[in-house]
């Protein structure tokens, strides 16, 4: 692959990830990790870490814009944050006790159910 196409590819991936993460407030990482792994040949664990480092500034920018347009709820956000931090610690510790692949499928089903309810 020439240098030019690779630059265009990188630029487009970045743009798409930023757009999705901004418009849906989530999902940037979910898209970016497979892009890094399958399109850019980054090792899996590095792809995860690199994705977080890219999504962080994007989420900060998006948060600022949401904040400026007053679509924030600080009290609710704080509660979710408290729960989330505790959950993340538990999640990363029990990671190896479950088959992540099986869990992915279970959550996939939840996502589809939620999706149908949101659209209709």
């Amino acid at each position: 692959m020439s240098k030019k196409t690779s630059m265009v590819k990188t630029a487009l991936i970045g743009l798409a990830v930023g757009l999705v993460n901004g418009i849906f407030g989530s999902g940037g990482g979910t898209i970016l990790v497979p892009c890094l792994v399958f399109l850019m040949d980054i090792e899996d664990h590095k792809a995860h870490a690199t994705a977080i480092s890219i999504i962080l500034p994007l989420s900060i920018i998006s948060s600022i814009i949401y904040f400026r347009y007053d679509v924030v709820d600080p009290a609710l956000t704080l509660k979710v944050a408290v729960g989330s931090v505790m959950g993340a610690l538990v999640g990363s510790c029990i990671l190896n006790k479950f088959s992540v692949n099986a869990l992915r499928k279970i959550f996939g089903i939840f996502m589809i159910i939620a999706a149908v309810r949101m659209v209709f």
Partner: protein
Amino acid sequence: MLTIIIGFASGIISGMGIGGGTLLIPALVFTVGVKQQIAQSINLIVFIPSAIAALFVHTKKHNIEKGLLLKLAITGCAGAVIGSLLAVNLDSNLLKKFFGAFLLIMGVYEITSKSKNKKTNSGKEDCK
């Protein structure tokens, strides 16, 4: 209390690296009844401290491809501005439908993808 439990559940999923945000948002919309945009802003903001914590660990382990980070972040920031401006200006019911469509694609992807994820324990060894 319900909100904390929802946060806790989504934190567990995120901590396992399965993208808890995509489930946190519908959970907030359905159970707490917040507007779509508010649910999204909660997810965006909550991600920030946990990402910073995770990056501390990853930087020490040199897991971040810094060159790639810069290249992707430039157009990524432009995308973030456009996407966020769209989100805050769209009608929340319409945005909810768009989000639903996106969630459907993500759900199908989660079910069908054979992840390369064998056990990658980066940053996970720290738990006792």
